[in-house]
Symmetry: none
Subunit: 252 residues, 2 copies
């Protein structure tokens, strides 16, 4: 294994084992290089790796610091590779919603066909929870509801694919909840859509369920787009450099 990898692992372990507290300053690159007997380059590479993982943060002229592992409460898994591709690239949000529309529609269709008694019970339970919860914890409830339907499709591949996208899904759900729910009329529409989806699945109407699920996702997507057009901040994140679409390295 490369030296820079070893060093990044050692530093990470040091941090995780409590040797270094959040907010604490890490020795300077030159100090680390001297202390570990390697060049500054490998130190920098190791630090960049930790930076990529969100373990540390670096400030020009000041130094590197252990990242404060803050909002682990309702925050999605930051270690998911795609999460980072997603952050700051709002277009991907809509790409995901595009795919989600299709897959959720199919899941609803199949669920309406295949849901067993146990499935229906789980779906009903999730739906009830969705009705009761306050908007704050709503993202989880929302996701749980959709997940229950997906699982009722009894298609392992579908379940696997959607669970692979779980983190990103949570993100879109979160975006919709955070941005759409507060608006009363939006919230009512979404509740009605959920109810429609729920009832069509439970009453075994595949076609209706599919349309309902797709319409729901589409509605969320369109609404977010609309709000964004009005200047609302849909995704919070440091703005990435420029905006032109690069389709090959030529344009880099």
């Amino acid at each position: 294994m490369a030296i820079s990898q070893e060093i990044s692992y050692r530093l990470e372990r040091l941090i995780l084992d409590g040797g270094l507290a959040p907010e604490q300053k890490i020795p300077s690159e030159r100090q680390l290089a001297a202390r570990l007997g390697v060049s500054r380059a490998v130190i920098r590479e190791a630090l960049h790796e930790l930076q990529g993982r969100g373990v540390i943060e670096t400030q020009h002229g000041k130094g590197s610091f252990v990242a404060s592992m803050v909002p682990q409460t309702d925050t999605v898994d930051d270690h998911s590779p795609l999460m980072h591709l997603f952050e700051g690239h709002p277009r991907t949000l809509y790409d995901l919603l595009e795919v989600r529309e299709q897959l959720e529609g199919q899941a609803a269709f199949l669920a309406a066909q295949r849901a067993t008694g146990a499935d229906r019970h789980r779906i009903t339970k999730a739906f009830r929870a969705l009705e009761d919860t306050d908007p704050l914890s709503n993202a989880r409830s929302d996701h749980s509801f959709h997940l229950a339907i997906v699982e009722a499709s009894h298609n392992p591949v579908l379940v696997h694919v959607l669970s692979s996208l779980k983190n990103m899904m949570l993100m879109t759900v979160q975006a919709s909840v955070a941005n759409l729910n507060p608006r009363q009329e939006m919230r009512k529409k979404i509740i009605r859509q959920h109810r429609q989806l729920y009832e069509s699945v439970i009453s075994s109407k595949p076609g209706v369920a599919q349309k309902a699920a797709m319409a729901h996702v589409r509605f969320v997507s369109d609404s977010l787009r609309e709000m964004e057009k009005d200047g609302a901040q849909v995704i919070r994140m440091p703005v990435p450099p420029d905006g032109s679409a690069q389709h090959s390295f030529q344009s880099l």
Copy 2:
């Protein structure tokens, strides 16, 4: 923002917008450095950051590669969780075809809407190859054709999802080719379906393209089911890795 950060963002963006498939090779550090007009050091730092996020993987002496989103999906070994789904569950083949029907339909729809000149050229090329090839190598051609359409959808999420399912997709394609193609009448139907899909995408008819793609997958699935019912042995075998999808970096 630091140059290395910018570059890591741009590379991320490129991976998404270019729809670079997992396992695809990234230009060498020296090439990137020359092309972007920066030192090799910043390239290495940027790559280490992406490495930390699990977006890419690097191998000494070989190069850096886009990491697969779903872990180990591309390894033919049974270490893959997806492959494990197949064992003792022949139904999974049909589950996959079920999902494929939906996603391929969507891909065709989007491709008909968004395909650029370059996309159309690639699709046409793949289609020509599909017409010419002998049934033996047909599985590859078939898959390449569908892949070209997926990439023309310009939805990175869709591309990544389908790429991650590559091996399983190849499996279904192979199953169809091996079992369906030899039967002359089947083969003709499939060829007609492909042509229909091709023409509707090229002539920008999203709805028609979607229906064509879905009907095609559905036909394959139904036919396989039918044959299996008749006692035929439907082939389900992993396919060795391929060497396609290298076009995104050609512009270098």
